[in-house]
Structures are given as C-alpha cells and as structure tokens.
C-alpha cells in the first residue's frame, strides 16, 4: 500500500513541471492565439541561466534567488521577443506566428551549445531539499514534496490573479473574445506583452526548477514541448485548472502505467489526448470556440486560375527544370529529386490548410505510411517498383480515411492536435513493432528498379509526378468540390445551410491530402532506399507546416515556393555548416518579418496593390466590415 501512495506522490511531482509549462502556454494561447513553439526554448534557457546563477552564487539564498532571477531574466527576454518580433505579425494569417517561434527554437538550440558548451550540465541540489523522507519504508525525495506543494500554490496564485485583479479580468475577457476587448478600448499591445511575459516566466521557472533533478542540455526543449501542448489541449485551451488536472492525469497514468506496460511512456500522452478529444472535443475543461468573425481564408486578392500567360510561364519553368540533367551533376539531381518530393508533400498539406482550412500537425503520418507501404510491397512482397509506387500510397490513403473521419469532427487547434496524436500513434507502431517494421532500424534496401535507378531518370520521375500533383490539386481547387470545400472553410454554418455536407467535404479533402502525401512518401522511400520511423515523426510534420506557412497559406500554390526555398536552404546549410539550425532559424525569422503573409502571399499582395491602387480603400472597408 505504501508503495502505491509513494508512486502517486511521485506522479504528482512529475506533474509539477508539466503544469508550470502548460499553464504558461495556455495563457499565451488563450489571449494571443499564438501557438508558441518557442515555449520549450524558454524552458531550456531558464534551466541554463539558473544553472549559471546557482553555480555562481552559493548558499540557500544564491540557489533560490538564482532560480527566481533566472525566470525573471528569461521573462524579460520573452518581452523582447514579443515586442520586436511577434508584434509585427499578429495580423498575419493564422498559425504564421508558429513559424516565427519555430525559427527562434532552432536558433536557441544552437545558441545554448555555443554559450554553455556541448556537455550535459548537472546543477546542484536544492539547499534544504537534498535528502528523502521515509514513508513506511519507502523513500520520497523531499524536493518532490516541495514540487508537489508548489504546483497548487502556483495554481492558487494564478487563480487569484485572474479572479481578483483587473489585469486578470482583461486576460479572461480576451481569452473569451479578444476582438470585443479591443473594441472596448483596452490597449491590446500591453495586454499581449504582459501575458507573454507571465507565460514565459512560468516556462522558465519550470525549467529552472528542474536543475536539482535533471541534466541541463541542448535538447531539453524538444523533450517537453510536444507533451506540454498535449497537456494544454487535454485540459482545454485557456483553462489553467484544466492544465493542472491534465498534467496530474498524464503523470499519474504514466506512473502507474509503467508498472503494467513498461513501454507505455512513449505513447501514453497521445493515447490519452486522442481518447479525450474524441469524447470531449474541447478538452476536459475547455469551452467550444466562439465562431470566428474573420474568415480565415479571406484574401484581399481572390483566387483565380492562372491566366494563359502565367500558364506558359509555368510550363517554361517546368521545361527548364526538366533540362537540368544535361547541365548538373548527380548530387544536384538527387537534391532536385528530394526537393520535388517535398513539393508534393507540401502542396498536399497546403491543400488541406488553405482550401480546407484544416491545419494538420501530423501530416507526416501519411507521408510515412506511403513510404512504409512501398517498403512492404517492394521488400516483402517483392513487387516491381512501378507497382509498389502505385499501390504504396494507398496505405496513406487508408490511414487518412480512418484518422480523418475522427479528426474532421473537430476544428481549429483541436483538429490539429488530434492529427498530431494519430501521427504519434502511427509513429509509435512503426517504432515498436520491430518484427514487421524493423523498429527504429527501419527497412533497408528499397532501391528503385534499373529504369529509374540513375539520378537523372529518378529526377524526371519525381519532377513529373510533382508537376502532376500540383496541376491536379489546382484543378480540384477550381472544381465544384473545391468551391464547396472553401465554403465550409469560410463559414461552416452558412455552407451547411445551403445543403453542403461539410464534414464529408472535409473528410474527402483529408483523404485527398493524405493520399498525395503518401505519393510523396512512396517516392521518398525509393530515393533514399530505406524507410525509418523518422519518416512519420513530428519534425517532418513541422517541416511541412513551415513550408506551407513560408510560401503563404492564403495562396493557391504558395507551398511550392515554400518547399523549394526551405528544403534547398536546409540541405545547403546542413552541408555547409555545423550551425545550420542557427542560420536556418535566423533565416526563417527574417522571412517572417520581411514577408508577413509568406513569400508568395506577400509578393501577390504587393503586385495587386500596385495594379489597383484605387481599389485600396474598398479593401480596407471590406476587412473592417468582416
């Protein structure tokens, strides 16, 4: 019995840092709608700064003062980031801020190694909390007890802050309806900045408090950020109590789960999230999102098919690309093939996001399923390449059909997080089912047949399929189905009122996007000759998101440019420098500032503004009316 009590307390202690992180993230998202990918980075910097301060200043005061000072320093840093970077892009399309914070995260991962060195750092133990307390023969670390007490205290402080202060009332009001708060004359700028500072302070505090139990190292952020998102969503966005309950729930399920299934930790949080979201679409304590006033897809420049001149230009560009094999070497051609494959992948996600209005955080699942489909067919069934390539993507299609059915029942960030959960579940199956998938050692030897083996033939193959995919998706966008899908994106209610079966439209779009992603994955398997669980991991899903956002989510085919720019920059930087993350992150941040609607989106806006300077007042009026 004593054992179970202690295990329960241990779970509570683990919940503490999750809760600190999650509450900060939840507040930030609730008010500013920023999906703050850099939250993990702030957590990590908090730990690093606290390490430096607590090593520098001795004694109990040095330690606890160092922890708090570290959180304050990092909160100041957060204010700086918010004022210099995020303020510029609040009016960008939804999720664009994700791109900025993703760029920051990349930079921070390299910066901490540059500043603090590559070795794992082990901080000192907390003065006064070094030992353990005996509980019927079981030892409970006293620091755990401290953490167990701390999180309800923080919860209480936050609760008072939100219920008893004017600032808290504003924050709650903004979480519920920020347009109305702005309309009532509240200075949003400072509200957003202060909220961001509080959120970052909590993240950094969570990181700083880890130093007596953890090692400080440059991958801490990735270790926690996804799980924190999951906790926030399970609890319900914007709900602090929800974050607390979810953190405790996840930690306790893990603590007791490993007693029965020792391998469960790898997937547990995602399983919990999938179940919670299917049963309660807004998380445990969340409320349904108010219907958006601004149509997410409202473009100043309405979509239209290409003019014949533009068609010719695209064809000419395609022809030039097709002539490459006569001028460049084998390596450039394989890079070209890889870029073409990622163009397919990015346009598939772009279709879902910009036409369907459904941002998927787990799109790599269908890419990976396509790749594994090919690997099974080519390696185990021994089918020729052309057959595997045609049939392999069906696995992606099947996965999209099954998961898509559940996902399209939700909307917004909840939709995104359910796609993430399913992607992680698929990933963990590929990772764990060693007998079939080879686990993380993957499936090797999936090389193309002779006719496609040479780099130039494979390049032509990838280029051809990429061009085909872009054309087909464009045709779909301007087909009756495409119009109906855009109607569901712009207003679910109105589209259903005129007789469109919105869920079925979205489900169909999900399946189309998943299948096209599967095609990309299938080609990728042959390009690399092997398949790994990596091919469906979170980083790949994030890459796809970045490509789409970089190109411009409010465009028809911006993802093509986004994919080319991101992939080319990525491959080139990784090859040229060991600090590729730092440079790539800085590059992304620069692009975010220079092209606030994505590269293609901003260019299009510039061109149309120059064309029709007289129409400008009208446009502004439309926007305000909405």
């Amino acid at each position: 019995m004593a054992f179970y009590v202690v295990q329960f307390l241990t779970g509570l202690a683990s919940a503490a840092s999750l809760f600190l992180m999650a509450s900060g993230l939840s507040i930030i998202f609730g008010v500013t709608r920023i999906v703050n990918f850099a939250h993990g980075a702030f957590y990590m910097i908090g730990a690093y700064v606290a390490f430096t301060l607590t090593e520098r200043f001795s004694g109990a005061l040095g330690f606890w003062g160092g922890i708090v000072a570290a959180a304050l320093v990092v909160a100041l840093l957060g204010v700086l980031v918010e004022m210099v970077l995020l303020r510029r892009i609040y009016h960008s399309p939804e999720l664009f801020q994700l791109l900025a914070t993703f760029g920051l995260t990349l930079m921070v991962q390299d910066l901490v190694v540059l500043i603090w060195g590559p070795d794992d750092l082990v901080g000192r133990r907390a003065p006064g909390f070094k030992g353990a307390v005996d509980f019927f023969g079981q030892a409970i670390p006293s620091y755990d007890l401290f953490l167990i007490v701390l999180s309800p205290v923080v919860l209480g402080i936050l609760y008072l802050l939100f219920q008893r202060t004017r600032w808290g009332i504003l924050v709650r009001a903004a979480t519920q309806d920020r347009d109305m708060v702005a309309a009532l004359g509240v200075n949003q700028k400072w509200l957003f900045t202060s909220v961001f500072a509080v959120g970052v302070f909590l993240a950094a505090l969570g990181g700083a408090l880890q130093i007596p139990r953890d090692a400080v190292h440059h991958a801490m952020d990735l270790r926690i950020i996804v799980e924190v998102f999951v906790v926030v969503v399970i609890g319900g966005l914007g709900s602090i109590i929800g974050a607390f309950v979810a953190a405790v729930l996840v930690s306790e399920l893990n603590a007791f789960g490993i007693l029965i299934f020792p391998k469960i930790s790898i997937i547990l949080v995602f399983l919990v999230m999938a179940v919670v979201l299917i049963v309660r679409p807004w998380g445990l304590f969340g409320k349904p999102e108010a219907p958006a006033r601004r149509s997410p897809g409202l473009t100043v420049n309405p979509w239209r098919p290409l003019t014949s001149g533009e068609r010719l230009a695209s064809l000419a560009a395609l022809a030039i690309a097709a002539l490459l094999p006569f001028f460049v070497g084998n390596y450039a051609l394989s890079v070209g093939s890889e870029i073409a494959i990622f163009v397919i992948f990015a346009v598939s996600l772009h279709f879902l996001m910009s036409v369907g209005g459904l941002a998927s955080f787990g799109h790599a699942a269908y890419f990976g399923l396509g790749a594994y489909g090919v690997a099974f067919l080519a390696k185990m069934a021994g089918l020729p390449m052309i057959v595997s390539l045609s049939l392999g993507p069906l696995l992606g299609c099947l996965g999209a059909a099954v998961f898509g059915f559940f996902c399209v029942q939700l909307s917004g960030v909840y939709f995104a997080m359910l796609t993430l959960a399913f992607a992680q579940i698929v990933w963990s199956i590929a990772f764990q089912w060693v007998a079939v998938t080879g686990g993380d050692n993957g499936i090797l030897g999936v090389w193309p047949d002779k006719w496609a083996a040479s780099p130039s033939s494979f390049y032509w193959l990838s280029l051809g399929i990429a061009a085909l995919a872009v054309v087909i998706l464009r045709i779909i966008v301007f087909s009756p189905f495409g119009y109906a899908l855009r109607a569901t994106r712009d207003s679910m209610l109105r589209s259903e009122a005129i007789g469109i079966n919105a869920k079925r439209m979205q489900w169909t779009a999900f399946v189309i996007a998943g299948t096209v992603a599967g095609v990309a994955g299938a080609l990728f398997a042959f390009l690399k000759g092997s398949v790994f669980p990596d091919n469906m991991g979170i980083p790949l899903s994030v890459d796809a998101l970045v490509m789409v956002l970089l190109g411009g989510v409010e465009t028809v085919s911006g993802a093509v440019i986004g994919a080319i720019v991101f992939k080319a920059a990525n491959i080139w930087l990784v090859s040229q420098t060991d600090w590729s993350k730092l440079v790539l992150g800085a590059f992304i941040v620069l692009i975010v500032v220079a092209f606030p609607k994505g590269i293609v989106g901003t260019l299009e806006a510039l061109i149309s503004r120059r064309k029709s300077a007289s129409a400008k007042p009208l446009v502004t009026r439309i926007e305000t009316a909405e």
Partner: protein
C-alpha cells in the same frame, strides 16, 4: 509561378560547388556524424580525427598523397545522412565514407554504401545488425558492438551472487538489443537467475521518479542499466535520493565513458560495473603517446569519442596505404584481416564479419575528489568476446 526557375538556379548553383576541381595528390575521406544533435560526443570525436589527420600528413600522408577529411553533419536523421553521403560520393569523389554514431544512421549509410558500391567504415554505431544480420561486404565497423560489450559485462556480472535481476533501458533498438543479448548470455552462464522487472523509458524522456520506484518495488538484487546521457543523470539522481542502489549490484553499459561519467560529478554512484574509458589510468606506451599528443594539441583530456575519431581515421589511412588504390574492391581486400596499432593496442579487422577487434575497459565506478572515476580496470580484447565463427556465419547473410 517562378518555382522552377528558382529550382533551376539553385540547382545550377549547387552544381557549381560540385564541380570544384579535384586537387592532384590528395586523397579524400568523407566523414558523417551527428554533430549538431550529439555535440557532447561528437566534439571530442572531431578533435580525435583532426589529430589523426595531422599526424598522418606530418608522417608523409598516404603513400605520399595528402589526406583530406571532408566532414558533414547529419542532424541525427538517416535521410539527411544519406543526402550527405551522396554529396560526398557524387560531388566530392571521396575514396571512402566513415563515421556515424546512431545505429539507424549507420545502417542507412551502410545500405547506401552497399547499393552504390562505396567503402564504408562505421565508427560508432553499436548495433549488431550492421555487421551481422544486415551486414554487407562494403561495410566495416570499428567500435566493439553491443554483443561484445554485453559479453564483457556478463563475464563480471555472472560472478555476482545476485539472483533476482531487473533491467532499465531506453526504448529503442540499442536498448532493446543490449538487454536481450545481456539476458541471453547471462542466462546461459547462470541458469538460476530470475528476471523480475524491466523498465523501458523513452530515450531522452525518462520520468525517473516512477521508474526508480517501479524498479525498487520489484525488489531485485541487481540491476542492469542501459540508459546514458541526460537520462542516466536523472536516473542516478533519483536512484541516489530514493536509495535504489543501496545494497544492490548495478551493471551498466557505457557509464564509464567520460562523456557520461563526468557530468555526474559528486553524485557518481559507487561500485557499478561498467564499460568505459579510464584515460587517466591507462599506462601503456600506445596510449601514452596518444594522450600526450591530444593534450598538447587541444589542452583538454580525451573522451571515448576522441579515441573513436582518432582510430577511425588512423584505420582509414592504414587501409588506403595498404590498398594503394581507391578502388572499393581493393580497399575491401586490404581491410579484411588487416592489423594495426591503436591507443588500446593492436586491433584487427576480421574477414568473417568485418568487425574490428577493438576492445573496451571494464571496471568499477568510484568517487575521487568529488569526481566519478573508474577503478579496478581491465582491458578486454574484442577478439575474446565474439561468438564462434560458425555462429557468426549463421548470423551474417552471404555476400
């Protein structure tokens, strides 16, 4: 739609890099490792191979030609490692590929080497598959494999009186195969042993408190640990506070390597049986020479990664010198059965499975001046801990 114009210009730019003239009188080696993902291990590794390059060229290079190492980062992703391998082979025309740390990346590059018929000397990856179940004729491996390290530890562990054993290992291929080999070899020597619990925290994400509690609840007499890096730190800290290691024997993979032992500082657990690299206590002329040169060049002490990086390039140079050619078939012929000196003494690349006989040090952890060290060390030769030739032939597919 400027997409393809952009693609074209980028590709042409890339080609411009590719066609840089190959200098005469140079031999290039292409080196790939997870520099940005695992700097704690790869930085000392890089220093190691830089020292080797300097020594080789100071001694006249490869049959009079200068040795050049071109190094690429793989970011910890198999697909990126293949892109890098492709660049090195297609654009840089390297004579061979070397390096890699993670097992899945090692396997990906090994498969690439097999497909493109390029010589590959894997430095770090520990998976048994790379020389056995997925071995191929183009791939050789330097470091003692999972199997060999397990066998070295079993030799010591089987002498312990403990009968109830529990295991904790990261939940991926390395952890899984380390545990399964250890269990198999241990149960062969000690049929009386009971395996009472196993814990599989996700790599890099151990929730140490519950794991330690769960292990303690099974009340084992001894524990096998395979976690390393930050996971090891958390596991040790929780275990120390909760008294998990009191009165229990612990056998642990890799923990004696300075990369993993040094961060633990005064929290280093005492008396664990570990494999590792006690650079401070190795008193052989071969190692002294390496240690002096390393400390003189970098003003830092070597980690195990330094040894691996150093010996990888030394081995590559020995192979290229003996083959006196960059033809992969001749390189393979030269490597099979080739013996050479190393800081750990003479090593041989076996013909039968392309594994080198580099060994490892086994010893016990101890605390000295607030730092973790290895004591009672003994060098275990790799050749003594490999299965019989008949068994290896069953494990490895025919070329």
């Amino acid at each position: 739609m400027r997409k393809f114009i952009l693609a074209a210009s980028l590709a042409i730019a890339a080609a411009g890099f590719a066609n840089s003239a190959q200098a005469q009188g140079e031999i290039k080696i292409g080196e790939i490792n997870s520099y940005s993902l695992l700097p704690a291990f790869t930085e000392p590794y890089r220093k190691g191979w830089q020292l080797a390059v300097e020594e080789i060229n100071a001694a006249g290079g490869i049959n009079g030609k200068k040795l050049v190492v071109i190094s690429k980062d793989d970011g910890g992703k198999p697909a990126d490692a293949q892109t890098a391998a492709n660049e090195l082979v297609s654009s840089e025309n390297v004579a061979m590929l070397t390096g890699t740390f993670l097992s899945n990346i090692g396997l990906a590059v090994s498969d690439f080497a097999n497909q493109k018929k390029v010589f590959f000397l894997a430095a770090e990856p520990l998976t048994d598959a790379i020389t056995w179940s997925k071995g191929n004729r183009y791939t050789f491996r330097l470091r003692p494999s999972n199997y060999m390290q397990a066998a070295m530890l079993v030799e010591a562990a089987s002498k312990l009186p403990a009968k109830r054993w529990a295991t904790v290992a990261p939940n991926y291929e390395y952890g899984q195969s380390a545990v399964s080999v250890f269990k198999k070899l241990m149960s062969e020597k000690r049929p009386d042993i009971q395996w009472v619990d196993e814990q599989w925290p996700p790599q890099g994400k151990i929730d140490a408190g519950p794991v330690v509690q769960a292990l303690a609840a099974a009340n084992p007499e001894a524990i096998l640990n395979v976690t390393f890096g930050a996971d090891l730190v958390k596991f040790v800290r929780e275990g120390n506070t909760r008294g998990l290691f009191k009165g229990r024997d612990v056998v642990s993979f890799l923990t004696g390597e300075p990369e993993y032992l040094d961060p633990l500082k005064d929290e280093t657990p005492v008396g664990w049986i570990v494999t590792g690299y006690p650079w401070y206590d190795i008193k052989t002329p071969d190692h002294d020479k390496f240690l002096k040169a390393y400390q003189a060049k970098f003003n830092d002490y070597p980690r195990l990664g330094s040894i691996v990086g150093y010996q990888t390039i030394k081995a590559a140079a020995a192979i290229l010198t003996k083959a006196n050619s960059t033809d992969p078939e001749k390189l393979i012929a030269a490597t099979e059965g080739l013996s050479m000196p190393s800081p750990f003494g003479e090593i041989t690349f076996r013909k039968i499975d392309h594994q080198s006989t580099l060994g490892a040090y086994v010893g016990k952890t101890a605390l000295k001046d607030g730092k973790g060290v290895m004591v009672d060390i003994a060098y275990k030769k790799g050749s003594d801990f490999l299965p019989s030739d008949a068994e290896v032939e069953k494990l490895r597919p025919k070329d």
